[in-house]
């Protein structure tokens, strides 16, 4: 995974404060728009209730009174008695005097004309009732005028309500459109928020979780894409530093372990580590029923060599010996500096015979190996080895047997390999 080029980063708190503010602003604007529409609807409702409906009632009352006037006018002509005609006339005058008619100029004029005509008709009827029918044609014109006025007023009243209701419907439709738009806007904003959260918070956290779960020195350092959130980036950097620290600590641990288990002069493992590993190898071999052999070797006349050439020459011999061991033994074989010029061996999956052959070859090779001292002098050193089977028993017992065989090799003249069983 490659790290993208550096991008500007934002603090999560700042980013979410900005997002929350944007959402609050957006929501406020939507609420304000809806509140404006609601206010308009409320105003239209109040106008309808306080102005329009009373106005409609006034128109209805006026239309009803004019129609009443017209009907009473008809009754003047249809009445069969003077009393009936007179009662209609009084009613006509009463209706024509109603404030609803008087305050409407057009109606007042029509009512005045109708009343005047009908009063004259009534007076004429009082003199000669048969003559009034000649006036009926003229009354029909007045009656038609009143009827048209009634129709106009009814339509006018209905139109007032229609206008207000249309206005309310328009506002409600606008409000509905705004509401749908607002919901879409809020929905888009929430989708954007979810996408941003997923991209810049949830997925980085998942990557961090995965990286922490698999964090170890065996694995390579985790790599992260360049995060835009500063906090996420800081955590990712910390994880990378943690991995580097783990790797460094592991290397140091390995180094310390090496120093603790190795002999400083020869580079071979020391006796403590040998005993620890050998014990485990023995148990493993014995559990599987595999052969295992141990040996103890000792450089011949090493004290004399030190006395003759000095301790530095002794050290050179020991290092040369270890180097030759490293070249000659198998990878699986274990050898340590047991103490002074004494060395211990362990041969897994090797019988005594196989180990003896191997050590014999090595003994010969070492005996023929020229060791150059610091002053250029070449010397040769021999090796005595005691060998013992370790397939049964403990490591201590096996080493004890090998030591006994070594003692026997020394006693028989040195520079030889002796197997413990041969001496038992």
């Amino acid at each position: 995974m490659t790290i993208p080029e550096f991008q500007e980063r934002y603090r999560a708190r700042l980013a979410f404060v900005i997002l929350a503010s944007a959402f609050a602003l957006l929501f406020s604007v939507v609420v304000a728009l809806l509140a404006m529409d609601q206010h308009r609807v409320l105003e239209a409702s109040q106008r309808l209730q306080q102005d329009t409906i009373p106005q409609i009632i006034r128109f209805q009352r006026l239309a009803r009174n004019l129609e009443h006037l017209r009907q009473e006018g008809e009754r003047i002509f249809s009445a069969t008695t003077p009393e009936g005609r007179q009662q209609s006339l009084f009613l006509i005058m009463l209706v024509a005097s109603h404030p609803s008619i008087l305050e409407h100029p057009q109606s007042a004029s029509a009512a005045r004309d109708a009343e005047r005509f009908l009063v004259e008709t009534g007076n004429q009827a009082a003199r000669d009732a048969s003559q009034i029918y000649q006036r009926y044609g003229e009354w029909q014109n007045l009656s038609k005028r009143l009827s048209l006025l009634v129709d106009d007023l009814s339509v006018q009243g209905a139109s007032l309500a229609t206008d207000d209701l249309n206005d309310m419907v328009e506002v409600m439709q606008l409000a509905r459109t705004k509401l749908i738009g607002a919901l879409l806007l809020v929905g888009c904003f929430l989708l954007l928020l979810i996408w941003l959260l997923n991209r810049h918070l949830i997925r980085p956290l998942q990557r961090i979780d995965q990286a922490l779960s698999s964090l170890s020195v065996e694995q390579p350092a985790p790599q992260f894409p360049d995060a835009r959130m500063a906090e996420i980036h800081a955590v990712e950097e910390a994880i990378q530093r943690l991995h580097a620290s783990l790797t460094s600590n592991d290397a140091a641990r390995r180094e310390l372990e090496l120093l603790a288990n190795r002999d400083g002069l020869t580079g071979l493992i020391n006796r403590r580590h040998f005993m620890h590993v050998a014990d485990a190898e023995l148990l493993h071999a014995q559990r599987l029923g595999r052969p295992v052999t141990v040996a103890l070797g000792d450089l011949d006349y090493f004290k004399r060599l030190n006395d003759t050439y000095g301790h530095a020459a002794g050290d050179t011999v020991l290092r040369a010996f270890a180097l030759l061991l490293d070249e000659s033994l198998r990878q699986s074989d274990l050898v340590c500096r047991y103490g002074g010029e004494e060395f211990a061996f362990l041969f897994p999956d090797s019988s005594v015979k196989q180990a003896k052959a191997l050590l014999e070859r090595f003994r010969q090779r070492f005996a023929e190996h020229d060791i150059r001292l610091a002053d250029g002098l070449l010397i040769r050193v021999t090796l005595s080895i005691g060998l013992a089977d370790a397939s049964h028993g403990t490591i201590d017992n096996a080493l004890h047997d090998a030591d006994f065989a070594l003692y026997e090799a020394k006693r028989l003249g040195r520079n030889r390999v002796i197997v413990a069983t041969e001496t038992a």
């Binding site: 009174n65 009662q87 009084f90 005058m93 009463l94 005097s97 404030p99």
Partner: protein
């Protein structure tokens, strides 16, 4: 002792409730003969009975709606407003128009119907004055005449206001019937009355001596909405009465009451 005090307090409260549930109602009469009557004992053949009966029914219906018992009193119109103002009456009926001056004295209910004013007179007087004026008689062109009206009415107030300008002799009478009488006995040339009041009187008049003259007038304080007068200090009662009026209108009771006494709707 404490028990006695509590009982007295409860009795006082109950007495207060009884007191509060009884309304004294003043109804302006049309004729002096109606003053001596009580309850709804006014004979149906008396002048202006329809208007009295209408006010009776309205008052009883409102009292029923506000859960109160009505005590009706028939008084001259001129005593209705002073009676309500002084607290003698709780409700005042009588084709009462609302004006700013009256609002300082009493409170008004929601409108119950609408009214205008109109001149009344004999046909001969109307013809004579039309000849003298050169045009049909109206309240605007009336000059050099004796005009009668109801005591305490806005019509009388208007006439007094224009009397000197139009050289009018203004006569005041206690009831609308007495105003009509001034026309019959030629004490006055014309009368100026509330339209509904005049209608109620003339519709019953079989002699047909008196008729409406000129056109009706609703401006200059002579017409508009008619209300019930209430004491100014009792806003709760006004609210209750307004609710009752709204209910009476809403369930059609008002229209039924009006139609019972008049051949048309009054609102």
């Amino acid at each position: 002792m404490n028990l006695l005090r509590t009982l007295l307090l409860l009795l006082g409260m109950i007495a207060g409730i009884v007191q509060a549930s009884e309304l004294k109602v003043a109804i302006g009469v049309q004729d002096p003969a109606q003053l001596a009557m009580s309850g709804n004992a006014i004979p149906p053949n008396m002048p202006g009975t329809e208007l009295i009966a209408l006010n009776d029914d309205m008052a009883r219906e409102i009292c029923r709606r506000v859960h109160a018992r009505c005590t009706l009193s028939y008084v001259p119109f001129s005593e209705v407003l002073p009676g309500v103002e002084s607290g003698r009456f709780d409700l005042g009926f009588g084709n009462i128009l609302r004006t700013p001056e009256r609002e300082k004295r009493v409170a008004f209910s929601a409108p119950i119907w609408f009214s205008s004013s109109r001149l009344v007179g004999t046909p001969s007087k109307a013809a004579a004055f039309a000849g003298k004026l050169g045009q049909p008689v109206s309240l605007d062109n009336l000059r050099d005449a004796r005009v009668a009206s109801l005591e305490g009415s806005l019509q009388l107030t208007f006439l007094n206001a224009v009397a000197s300008q139009n050289n009018l002799t203004v006569l005041s009478r206690k009831t609308a019937s007495e105003v009509i009488d001034t026309l019959r006995d030629d004490t006055a040339d014309f009368g100026l009355l509330a339209m509904l009041s005049a209608y109620a009187l003339l519709n019953r008049d079989t002699t047909r001596q008196i008729e409406f003259v000129g056109t009706a007038v609703a401006d200059r304080g002579l017409g508009g909405s008619v209300h019930i007068a209430l004491p100014r200090q009792n806003e709760a009662l006004r609210q209750s009465v307004n609710q009752a009026i709204a209910a009476i209108r809403a369930d059609g009771s008002f229209q039924r009451i009006a139609r019972r006494h008049f051949a048309l709707g009054l609102d």
